[in-house]
């Protein structure tokens, strides 16, 4: 039976949550959104019902958080709790119903990002953990790890430095570049700590999109294999994943039999320009 991290929310039955909960974690610009979009398409092609969700997408608090972050007066306790409201709203109204219906739930960040952000902002670790003790223990946490040095060019050539991602609220008086380095550095250290504690499956996210995707597919297949209802899927795709000599691109192409290389490129491209970038804002 599914577990929580200690406390159960009123009215939440844990007995019939038959779906699979997969968390994709990682710092800003680690490529989480791109990978989740690829995974979603791939899983749906195999016949899985997939729900993807992520920070600030709750109908209750998403808009409120976005508006609060536009100003300059969102305190750190308030910020932590606003995000907790958003998370619990999605947990109760999206994640749990989807798991009950047997979906594969892909979540772009989970409580770990929220805890890491709160802790680097000086919040008491026991306090934030206590709040999230009501969260469900996921089936797996895939951690897209990338060093700050590898991150910088991605940020510069995608959308530039952002006030909150640069932790300007925490490192005022520095320019955005310095602040970004300091903030992402401490955030990464906190992630590495959480990674040990919560047994993340770490994937090197500095590789190109296809290589990372092939790595993720292997992990996701292994997670779904543990579920008897998905036996059919895991058998069908056993062969290509087991072949260690295959180039990553070929492995991906082999695992998506109906798909030519051009289709794959297009898929990767369209996923990269998907509507929401998973970083608390939408991209037109």
């Amino acid at each position: 039976m599914r577990q929580t991290y200690g406390k159960q929310l009123p009215g939440m039955k844990l007995s019939d949550l038959s779906g699979t909960l997969i968390v994709v974690e990682g710092t800003d610009c680690a490529g989480r959104t791109t990978q989740i979009n690829l995974l979603k398409t791939w899983l749906e092609e195999q016949g899985h019902a997939v729900l993807d969700t992520g920070m600030t997408r709750s109908p209750l608090a998403g808009e409120g958080i976005r508006r609060a972050k536009e100003g300059n007066n969102l305190g750190r306790v308030t910020q932590s709790l606003f995000y907790a409201t958003d998370f619990i709203d999605r947990l109760e109204n999206e994640i749990v119903p989807a798991l009950r219906a047997g979906f594969v739930v892909l979540t772009d960040r989970y409580i770990y990002s929220l805890m890491a952000r709160a802790i680097v902002r000086g919040m008491d670790a026991a306090w934030i953990r206590s709040i999230y003790s009501t969260a469900l223990v996921p089936d797996a946490v895939i951690y897209l790890r990338i060093s700050v040095d590898a991150l910088i060019p991605r940020v510069i050539f995608s959308r530039g430095f952002d006030y909150w991602e640069s932790g300007m609220d925490e490192f005022p008086g520095q320019d955005m570049y310095e602040s970004f380095r300091s903030y992402q550095g401490v955030l990464l250290a906190e992630f590495d700590k959480l990674s040990m504690e919560y047994h993340f499956e770490t994937v090197d996210a500095s590789a190109d999109v296809k290589t990372v995707f092939a790595e993720l597919q292997k992990k996701v297949l292994r997670i779904l294999e543990g579920d008897s209802r998905k036996e059919y899927v895991s058998k069908q795709y056993e062969q290509p994943t087991a072949n260690a000599f295959m180039k990553p691109q070929e492995a991906v192409a082999a695992m998506l039999p109906g798909l030519g290389r051009r289709d794959l490129e297009m898929l990767l491209h369209s996923a990269a320009t998907h509507a929401s970038d998973g970083n608390d804002r939408s991209v037109a």
Partner: protein, 251 residues
Amino acid sequence: MNTGNNVRIGPFEIFYPIAQTFERPRQNGGQQFPGKLFVVEGIDGSGKSTQLSLLHKWLESKGYGVVFSTWNSSPLVKDTTKLGKKKKMLTPATFSLIHATDFADRIERSILPLLKAGAVVLCDRYIYTAFARDVARGMDRQWVRELYGFAMRPTVAFYFRVPLEAAIGRVVTARDGFKFYEAGLDLGLSDDPTESFRLFQGKILQEYEKMIPEFGLTVIDATLPVEVQQMQVRQIAKIHLDKAKELRVRP
């Protein structure tokens, strides 16, 4: 004035806040502020708001720098709360969290800086309201207390104790109809709003009673005449302000 557990002040027995069992607040922990924080608590219809506004007038007339803060009033959060209530989107957990977020904003933005600056801060409802309501809605007692771990302990928390029926009578005659969450209609206790309100307030009252010893709430008998209650409130407030003469903005 001694500070035993049951001191007599005036003709009426009251509990004096001595049993401070609330853990030292974490985020604002261990700090001593020059300001004073007086809060009023009690079920709807207990008359606490009337008493607080009378205390407010008195403190102002004495020349103190007084600031008033009401429950559920953060400009950053209130639109989200309003949305959740209007569309009935709130579960016990998100109801609890959105109110904690609102409270956190008021603490960070106004209450904490004001106390540091030496003001007298008056709160109509404080964390005890959240403890009572959220637990009545089925939230874990310990979880809710941890959630508010960032709150500072008030100088005095007045609890206006009133029998359920007396409070219900005041509220029912004073307004027509209850709001959805106010009446606890989300809990499915009863389809009739007035009956649901009665049952919900009963649960809240039980929680308040448990909190009297837990947090050392200062009990005021809210069935007494308004003037008598106010005399007690002022007497108790005075004890704490005697040590804080430097707070006066006017001589």
